[in-house]
C-alpha cells in the first residue's frame, strides 16, 4: 500500500514536470491541451461516478451507455423545442433519473440479472432514440463562463476556469460525491449495503430503499453527463454518438478502485491521451489514420483492465440479489 502511494505521487510529480516543461516551451498550446483533456475527460469521469454510486451499493450498471445516449437525446431535443439550454439540461437529468429508476426496478424489485437489465437499458435507449430521431434540428448550447479573476491566472485560468457550466457543476459534484461517500452517514450506509447487505439490514438500514435511492441519483448524474455531451461538448445528437463512453467509464471505475478521486484521475488520463493525439494530428506532427485514433480509448480500456485486474477488489455484494430474511 505504501509502495503504491509513493508510485502515485511519483507519477503526479512526473506529470507536473512534463507539463511544466512543455508550458515553458509553448504556453498557449500546453494550456489548451490540458484544458481539452478536462473537456474530454469530464464525461468519462461523470459516467464513472454513475458506476461507482451503483456498485458501491451492490448494483452492477452496464446500462450507463444507454443512459448517456437517451438523456443526451432528450436534452438536445428539449433544448431544441424550448429554445433553452437550461430546460434541455433539466430534461436530460430527468431522463437520466428515469433510466436509473428503470434499472433499479428491474434489478431490485424484479430481481433480474443485472447484466441483462443493463443491456436492456442500452438496447432500449438505442432503439427508442433511433426511431424518434429527426435530422436537421439545432439547439442552443450552453455557453462558456469565465470565472472572474480566477480565469486570469496563467495556465490554471484556462485549464480550470474557462469552461461551460456543466464542467463546473460536474467537477463540484465529483468532489461532493467523494466526501459524501467516505465522510457521511449516507456514504457509510451505502458502502455497507454494497459490501454486506445482511449486516446493514440488521443495523437498521433499508437495503432496498438505499439501493433505489442511489441508483436513481446515479441516473441523474448520468443524465448530466448526457446533457454535457449533446449540449456542451458536441452541440448536436447523432445515432450512437456516445461511442462506448459508458463502457469505458466502467473500466475507469475499476481502475480508480471504485473511488471517485481515482476514477477522476483515470478519466483525466484518458482525456489527456485524446487531447495530445488531437494536438499531434492538428499540428501534423504525426499522421495517424482516424480509425487508429478512434481505437485508442478502447485499447487503453482493455490494457487498463488487464493491469488492474486481480489487484483491485469490487464491492463484495456486487451483482447479488438481496433477500430479506423471514422472521
Amino acid at each position: 500500500m505504501k509502495k503504491l502511494l509513493s508510485f502515485k505521487w511519483l507519477l503526479t510529480l512526473l506529470l507536473v514536470a512534463i507539463t511544466g516543461y512543455f508550458y515553458s516551451k509553448d504556453g498557449v498550446i500546453t494550456s489548451s491541451v490540458v484544458s481539452t483533456a478536462l473537456i474530454f475527460g469530464l464525461p468519462l469521469a461523470l459516467a464513472a461516478m454513475v458506476g461507482i454510486m451503483c456498485e458501491r451499493t451492490g448494483i452492477v450498471n452496464i446500462g450507463i451507455e444507454g443512459t448517456l445516449l437517451f438523456s443526451a437525446f432528450v436534452g438536445f431535443f428539449t433544448a431544441s423545442a424550448t429554445d433553452s439550454d437550461f430546460y434541455g439540461v433539466v430534461a436530460a437529468v430527468i431522463a437520466g433519473t428515469a433510466s436509473g429508476v428503470l434499472l433499479a426496478f428491474m434489478s431490485i424489485s424484479w430481481k433480474m440479472d443485472q447484466i441483462i437489465a443493463g443491456t436492456i437499458i442500452n438496447i432500449l435507449a438505442t432503439g427508442l432514440t433511433s426511431f424518434l430521431y429527426k435530422q436537421g434540428h439545432t439547439a442552443p448550447t450552453t455557453s462558456q463562463i469565465d470565472i472572474p479573476w480566477l480565469s486570469q491566472i496563467p495556465f490554471f485560468g484556462q485549464v480550470l476556469f474557462m469552461h461551460g457550466p456543466i464542467v463546473y457543476i460536474g467537477l463540484v459534484l465529483i468532489f461532493v460525491l467523494y466526501i459524501a461517500l467516505f465522510h457521511t452517514a449516507w456514504g457509510l450506509r451505502s458502502r455497507a449495503v454494497g459490501e454486506h447487505p445482511g449486516s446493514a439490514d440488521t443495523a437498521g438500514v433499508s437495503v432496498f430503499k438505499l439501493r433505489y435511492l442511489n441508483v436513481s441519483i446515479a441516473g441523474a448524474v448520468g443524465g448530466l453527463a448526457g446533457a454535457y455531451l449533446s449540449l456542451e461538448l458536441v452541440g448536436s445528437w447523432d445515432r450512437g454518438f456516445t461511442a462506448g463512453k459508458g463502457f469505458t467509464a466502467l473500466a475507469l471505475m475499476i481502475f480508480g478502485r471504485w473511488n471517485p478521486m481515482g476514477a477522476l484521475a483515470a478519466a483525466m488520463f484518458f482525456g489527456l491521451t485524446q487531447a495530445i493525439t488531437n494536438q499531434l494530428m492538428f499540428s501534423q506532427i504525426v499522421k495517424i489514420p482516424d480509425q487508429f485514433v478512434n481505437m485508442l480509448p478502447y485499447i487503453l480500456t482493455i490494457v487498463v483492465l488487464a493491469i488492474s485486474a486481480g489487484k483491485v477488489r469490487p464491492p463484495a455484494a456486487e451483482g447479488q440479489q438481496y433477500e430479506k430474511e423471514q422472521a
Partner: protein, 350 residues
C-alpha cells in the same frame, strides 16, 4: 405432459413478441402512420412471396449463427456481447480469402475461405476468453471494447490496405466465383447449413460430455471446479467456439449474400443475436424461429418505409421491446411459465 411443458417454455417468448408489436403499433399510430398497413407491408414483403422468403432466409442465416454464438456463451455462464466483432472479423477474413487466393477449384476455395472466417472469428472470441480466464476481466467489457476496435480496424483495412482499386468506398474487391456460395432453388444454401449447425450444437449440449462440462461451469463454477472440470478451459472453449460460429456467419454473409466485404453491411447482426438467443431461451434450436422472424423484419423494413411511411428504425425499437418483455419476469409470472434460467452476473475482477 410434453405439450404442457412445451407451452410453458414457449408461451412467454410468443407473448413477448406480440406485446412488443402492440407497443410498436401504438408508437407508429402516435407518429401519424397506419400501424396495420405498416405491419401488413412488413409481413407480406418478408413472408408473402418466394423472393421475399429467399431474402428473409438470407438475412436469417447470420442471425441463426450469431444467436447460436450468444447461446453457447449463455450456456457456459458468459455474456458474449462481442458476437458483432467476431462476426465482422469473420466476414472480412472470408472475403479476403475469397478474392485474394487464386486458382483453386470451388470445392477447395469455398471451404478454405469459410475456414478463414471461422478461424479469425474464433481468434477474436479467444482474446476475450483469455482475458476472462487468465486476468478475470469481465467478458462484457472486453467484448464491447473489441467490437469497437474491430469496427475501426476493418474500416481501415477495407478502406486502405485491401481496398478495391479505383474505389472511393471502403470495400474489398469482389470475391471470385470459386468462393461464392451457390444457391439452391434460388434459396441461399447457407441457411440450411446454419440449421444443421444449430442442430449440431443442440446435440453437443444434449448428448456429449463436452457440452455437459460447459453447462456445469455455466450453472455453478465452484461445483464444476470441485468436480474437476477446468473452468478456464470451459471459458476459452465457449468463447472460441462462439466466436468461430459468429465468424462463420460473417463468412456466409460475405461469400453468399454480399460478395465482398463492406464495413457498413454487417452492423447490428451481433446485437440481434443477443435478442434471438434470449428469445430462444438459450436453446440452440430455439434460435431458429427468432432468427427467421427478425431476418424477415430486417429484410422488409425498407419496403415498409416505402409503403407506410414508417421509419425502418421501428424494427430496432420492436426488438428492444421484445428483449425487455422476454427477460423481464412480469410476463413469465403472469403466464405462469418458466423464466429464463441463465444467471450470468459475476464481478469485474474475480
Amino acid at each position: 405432459m410434453a405439450g404442457k411443458k412445451f407451452s410453458r417454455t414457449w408461451l412467454t417468448p410468443v407473448v413477448a413478441v406480440l406485446v412488443a408489436f402492440a407497443i410498436g403499433a401504438l408508437l407508429i399510430y402516435i407518429q401519424g402512420a397506419d400501424p396495420l398497413k405498416a405491419y401488413q407491408s412488413l409481413f407480406s414483403h418478408a413472408f408473402g412471396s418466394w423472393s421475399g422468403i429467399a431474402k428473409t432466409l438470407g438475412k436469417a442465416t447470420p442471425l441463426v449463427l450469431s444467436g447460436l454464438a450468444v447461446t453457447i456463451g449463455l450456456r457456459a455462464g458468459l455474456f458474449n456481447i462481442g458476437v458483432q466483432g467476431q462476426l465482422v472479423t469473420g466476414a472480412f477474413a472470408a472475403a479476403w480469402a475469397g478474392y485474394f487466393i487464386h486458382g483453386l477449384p470451388i470445392y477447395i476455395h469455398l471451404p478454405l475461405a469459410l475456414i478463414f472466417g471461422i478461424t479469425f472469428g474464433a481468434g477474436v472470441g479467444l482474446i476475450a476468453g483469455a482475458l476472462k480466464a487468465y486476468r478475470g476481466i469481465h467478458e462484457v467489457i472486453t467484448t464491447i471494447m473489441l467490437n469497437s476496435i474491430i469496427l475501426a480496424l476493418v474500416d481501415y483495412l477495407a478502406g486502405h490496405v485491401f481496398q478495391e482499386p479505383g474505389q472511393i468506398l471502403a470495400r474489398t474487391p469482389h470475391i471470385l466465383p470459386s468462393a461464392t456460395i451457390p444457391k439452391i432453388f434460388s434459396l441461399p444454401s447457407g441457411f440450411f447449413f446454419a440449421i444443421l449447425l444449430a442442430y449440431g450444437v443442440w446435440w453437443v449440449f444434449q448428448r456429449t460430455t463436452s457440452g455437459f462440462r460447459l453447462e456445469t461451469v455455466g450453472r455453478n463454477k465452484s461445483a464444476a471446479w470441485y468436480a474437476g472440470i477446468s473452468v478456464k478451459r470451459a471459458v476459452l472453449i465457449a468463447m472460441a467456439v462462439g466466436g468461430g460460429i459468429a465468424g462463420l456467419g460473417g463468412g456466409i454473409e460475405s461469400l453468399g449474400v454480399i460478395g465482398r466485404f463492406e464495413p457498413t453491411f454487417n452492423t447490428g447482426l451481433g446485437f440481434d443475436g443477443i435478442t434471438i438467443a434470449l428469445l430462444g431461451r438459450a436453446n440452440p434450436l430455439g434460435v431458429i424461429p427468432g432468427a427467421i422472424l427478425i431476418g424477415g423484419m430486417r429484410g422488409a423494413a425498407a419496403s415498409m418505409q416505402f409503403d407506410a411511411g414508417v421509419a425502418p428504425e421501428i424494427v430496432d425499437l420492436i426488438l428492444a421491446l421484445v428483449l425487455f418483455c422476454v427477460t423481464a419476469p412480469f410476463l413469465a409470472k403472469w403466464l405462469k411459465s418458466t423464466e429464463v434460467g441463465a444467471k450470468i452476473t459475476s464481478g469485474w475482477g474475480n
